[in-house]
């Protein structure tokens, strides 16, 4: 099993969700996050004083999938979230040791 953690533009969440649904991946955790990579942020002006807002709003999508479909899932996410501009985000992949279903207590493979 793999944990795939993607940081994407907020307006791309629906497209990523749809792309994953096509692979029959329906379970996911989505979190509103802030961060930046190479993207510089923007200038905000409050009461005449300028601020550089470097941490921009992003969405983090976490899914756990069997190894066999991990590559397809990554391709789907990258394809759906890409605009080609700086600030499209990142995909991180982690190995998952074990997974339990809380309702039944059973260990999933």
């Amino acid at each position: 099993m793999k944990l795939i953690k993607s940081i994407v533009r907020p307006n791309k969440v629906d497209e990523v969700k749809d792309a994953l649904a096509k692979l029959s991946i329906s379970g996911m955790t989505v979190t509103e996050v802030r961060g930046h990579g190479k993207q510089k942020g923007h200038t905000a002006i409050y009461r005449g004083k300028e601020y550089n807002v470097s941490l921009l709003p992003k969405m983090e999508i976490e899914i756990v999938v069997p190894d066999s479909i991990a590559d397809d899932a990554i391709k789907a996410i990258v394809g759906a979230a890409r605009t080609g501009e700086i600030g499209d985000g990142r995909v991180f992949v982690f190995p998952v040791l074990e997974s339990y279903r809380i309702r039944t207590g059973e260990k999933e493979s």
């Binding site: 307006n11 629906d14 905000a44």
Partner: protein, 416 residues
């Protein structure tokens, strides 16, 4: 000079002015958080540009004798708008200057209402230019037709506080603007949901409060007709809210909060043309009836590709039309001292009311279309794809409605 009337009109003017910030909250809650400030600013900016234009030329073009179609420039730049009660188009018992201010607040909110159709994608600068020109080219003539002794007044159309002048007029412009500007790029996707329903409820509450000035103030005196308009303004939206709740229950099994806020506005819109003309019991009927067409107009609109984002047409267009027609049904001369409606034996009144609605709709839609096309020749009407994706708060105003702690660091600029 009547001091009670003066006091009431001072209060009413302030009440109606408050409706525009109230509308900002109503609309602001219904959009996504990345566009909250931009949407609210579309209402607030009207308080500036439209007010100034009204004082300079709008008031004179709307509310001077002129001809059947438009007023003249005799009161332009507020020349002759003084502290005495003389010189206005209607007989007054309070200062003329206060009547000008009261009427200004109507023009301000009418222009702001249009924004509901184009939020989350229209360029702010193009919007400001549009509503500024619109307030002079569209609002002033229609106000003149109904309240300035123009042709609709001559024909015998009655509009107590602006069902046609304000609501049908704004809705026609909104419909055209939604079509010309085009739909949001993410229209139809599940991500386009209200970001703060409490804001919308707050806005609806403040609108109701302000509407007492709008309708009861339109009596232009602190007397029996103002009291009647006040009570009908209380009862009609109440009835709309009750019927709307049952419609919600029947359709989805749950009474929704956005539905309740919408119902209140629909009831207020519908009673506006009738407020000082009908009995309080008929106001309950009027409010109850008005719920149905607007409720289904909302549902049908959402299934089309018409992105009238915050349903200006369903709430103000349909509600305003139903209200104007029902004014011609429920009006009683024994109450208002002016004219009877269909139930009291004057069925022709409904036709006259319908003609007024149609005329306002056609003129407003046509003139708004031309204005938008002209502005579109000089500048883009729409935000860019990138601006729309990022959100118009950051891209148009350089601010965010909800800035997270640690999201910003101050940078020094120039000499502090």
């Amino acid at each position: 000079m009547n001091q009670a009337d003066t006091a009431w009109m001072l209060i009413s003017t302030a009440l109606v002015l408050l409706m525009t910030p109230a509308l900002a909250f109503f609309y602001g809650g219904l959009v996504r958080s990345k566009n909250a400030l931009n949407t609210m600013m579309m209402s607030f900016i009207s308080l500036g540009f439209v007010s100034v234009l009204w004082a300079l030329v709008g008031y004179s073009l709307a509310l001077t004798p002129g001809n059947n179609w438009i007023g003249d420039m005799s009161l332009a730049f507020l020349n002759g708008v003084g502290l005495a009660e003389t010189g206005a188009i209607v007989p007054l018992t309070f200062p003329h200057i206060l009547y000008m201010a009261f009427q200004a607040t109507f023009c301000i909110i009418t222009a702001a209402l249009i924004s509901g159709a184009i939020v989350e994608r229209m360029r702010f600068s193009a919007y400001v230019i549009f509503i500024s020109l619109w307030s002079v080219v569209v609002y002033a003539p229609i106000a003149h037709w109904v309240w300035g002794g123009g042709w609709l007044a001559d024909m015998g159309a009655w509009d107590f506080a602006g069902g046609t002048v304000v609501h049908v007029n704004a809705a026609a412009a909104a419909l055209v603007a939604a079509i010309v500007v085009g739909k949001r790029r993410e229209y139809g996707s599940t991500s386009v949901l209200p970001h703060s329903v409490p804001f919308t409820l707050l806005g609806a509450g403040l609108l109701w409060f302000g509407w007492f000035g709008f309708n009861a103030g339109s009596a232009l005196a602190a007397g029996p007709i103002a009291s009647l308009a006040f009570v009908t303004t209380m009862l009609a939206p109440a009835a709309t809210l009750v019927v709307w709740t049952f419609l919600d229950l029947t359709r989805s099994g749950k009474p929704t909060a956005v539905g309740a806020a919408t119902a209140i506005v629909v009831g207020l819109v519908a009673v506006t043309p009738a407020a000082g003309f009908i009995s309080p019991i008929n106001a309950i009927f009027l409010g109850a009836i008005a719920a149905v067409p607007s409720y289904f107009a909302l549902i049908i609109r959402a299934r089309t590709s018409l992105d009238d984002s915050l349903d200006v047409v369903a709430a103000h267009g349909v509600g305003g039309t139903v209200g104007a027609l029902l004014t011609g049904v429920f009006a009683e001369k024994s109450i208002n001292g002016l004219f009877d409606g269909a139930i009291a034996g004057n069925p022709g009144q409904v036709m006259i009311q319908g003609t007024a609605v149609l005329a306002a709709f056609v003129y407003s839609a046509g003139a708004s279309f031309i204005l938008l096309k002209l502005i579109g020749l000089v500048m883009p009407l729409r935000a860019t794809v990138e601006e729309e994706g990022t959100g118009l708060d950051i891209t148009s105003h350089g601010e965010e409605a909800y800035l997270h702690v640690g999201g910003a660091t101050a940078t020094r600029h120039g000499s502090f």
